[in-house]
Symmetry: C2
Subunit: 256 residues, 2 copies
């Protein structure tokens, strides 16, 4: 595996799932074998590919709690070169069950360490909190991509997120880097947006991705058809933006 | 206290905080003494009134974990007839600390039971999860107001939320009712919105509030000035919508 990337931000509704589903789909489109991991009990990434969560027999929960292997949990997504480790409602109980287990933050890290799969990239969709599911993801990841809505409440939460990333780097995962900050649902007409962008640029400098994801209804419609946007409307502004994101991600990681 | 209302939905970014801050502000505007409780570790409701979270000495955390009283935790908001029990980053640790405590779901309920304050309404802003902070809020509340974005992922999570409400009603809080469903960030031009509205109407019938909150940038700008929208731009579409919401809420609760 070249890289494990967690898509994380405890602020809700900033486009974590939309980014995980569509970045993973375009990486696969560029021929990079990719595995998407749905670590959110809401299991939105799972349903973003039309997979009915009640039909999911084994999920992230089984990997974290029941020592299931990755091989027995993987499902196809309908996109070539892209598989998923799905979520289902069992994952809601994982938080409480993990609290009293030994080395509760490093369970996912150990599982990936022993995994010999042929995937180039593993993308992890995180829930909107800094709880044990997110901590497991940040501990297992090589880097974290931070989707950010250009609005006040989103900006407010960034320092808490970077605090947590620093703590994880010190204690649990010294190699954890910030992959970048991705501006999502961006509306160029709003003055609020450009003020936030200025703030973010000062803090994250060249870590801010050049690609900006515009607000585009096709991105919100695609999951209701159980498809990533590449299958739903590849010519839309939203699709083109995620295609550019995948390109920029590969370029930043040394692959033209 | 006439009523304790939890503003809850585990889906992130659906407008829970925006609804809590602005509904509470307009209830106060109509002369109803109101207390806002910020149960979210992100403490967005707290900063929505310009209160610096690092200056907050005592928060919801102290009430839940350190047996602090409500009286010693309350802060003014700058709005007449509206006080707040603020949040700060201590609340992040509350989830884990509560897991192994006796009757962990009913701590907030007990505190409100013994509270003799003169508030007419208590409004609780919940975090984007079905974890112990949200369970405490639902157990302490008389009813729950569900903000919902008219989009696929939001709709998907509703059955999980109603499951949880039913479980709480059976075991912990027999009187818990659904106050209503509130459509937020509604854009009449999108076909996606009208499809979701139809689905929601079938399920919740007359519990769907007539008042619909439109997408309006003034609502997103107001918190960056530390003000509820009533102080920031009372003539805006967003402000008028929340004013109508407060009126409809009072009407549904028998107060003209
Ligand atoms: N660029 C965009 N343009 C328009 N709609 C978008 C865009 N990105 C995401 N959305 C929609 O906004 C909502 C929130 O996005 P999404 O669910 O991906 O965020 P999230 O961070 O994963 O949320 P959560 O915190 O609940 O996990 C969804 O309904 C999604 O379809
Ligand atoms: N009607 C609206 N029009 C425009 N922007 C809105 C509206 N309601 C909320 N917002 C903005 O959308 C974002 C999400 O709203 P908000 O933070 O209130 O949701 P939330 O459900 O409390 O999120 P979380 O799940 O993180 O607690 C915020 O930046 C907010 O300012
Ligand atoms: Mg998500
Ligand atoms: Mg909120």
């Amino acid at each position: 595996v070249n890289k494990i990337v967690a898509i994380a931000n405890q602020k809700g509704g900033v486009g974590k799932t939309t980014t995980a589903v569509n970045l993973a789909s375009y990486l696969a489109h560029f021929g990079k074998e990719t595995l998407l991991v749905d670590m959110d009990p809401q299991s939105n990434s799972t349903s973003g590919f039309g997979i009915e969560k009640s039909s999911v027999k084994r999920s992230c929960y089984d990997i974290l709690i029941n020592n299931a292997t990755i091989e027995e949990t993987i499902l196809p997504t309908g996109v070539d070169w892209l598989d998923i480790i799905p979520a289902n409602r069992d994952l809601i109980g994982a938080e409480v069950e993990l609290v009293n287990t030994i080395s509760r933050e490093t369970r996912l890290k150990k599982i990936f360490k022993n995994f010999q799969g042929s995937y180039k990239y593993i993308i992890i969709d995180c829930p909107p909190s800094l709880s044990l599911l997110t901590l497991n993801s940040l501990t297992a990841a090589n880097s974290v991509l931070i989707p950010l809505q250009a609005e006040f409440y989103s900006l407010e939460g960034i320092s808490e997120l970077t605090n947590t990333i620093n703590l994880i780097r010190e204690d649990l995962n010294p190699g954890l880097e910030i992959e970048g900050v991705l501006l999502t649902m961006y509306d160029t007409r709003l003055t609020l947006s450009s003020q936030v962008v200025e703030e973010i640029g000062k803090f994250f400098k060249d870590k801010v991705y050049q690609t900006v994801i515009p607000r585009n209804v096709r991105l919100a419609e695609a999951p209701s058809f159980g498809k990533p946007v590449i299958f739903y409307d590849p010519e839309s502004k939203g699709a083109k933006a995620y295609q550019n994101l995948a390109r920029e991600f590969l370029k930043r990681n040394g692959i033209e």
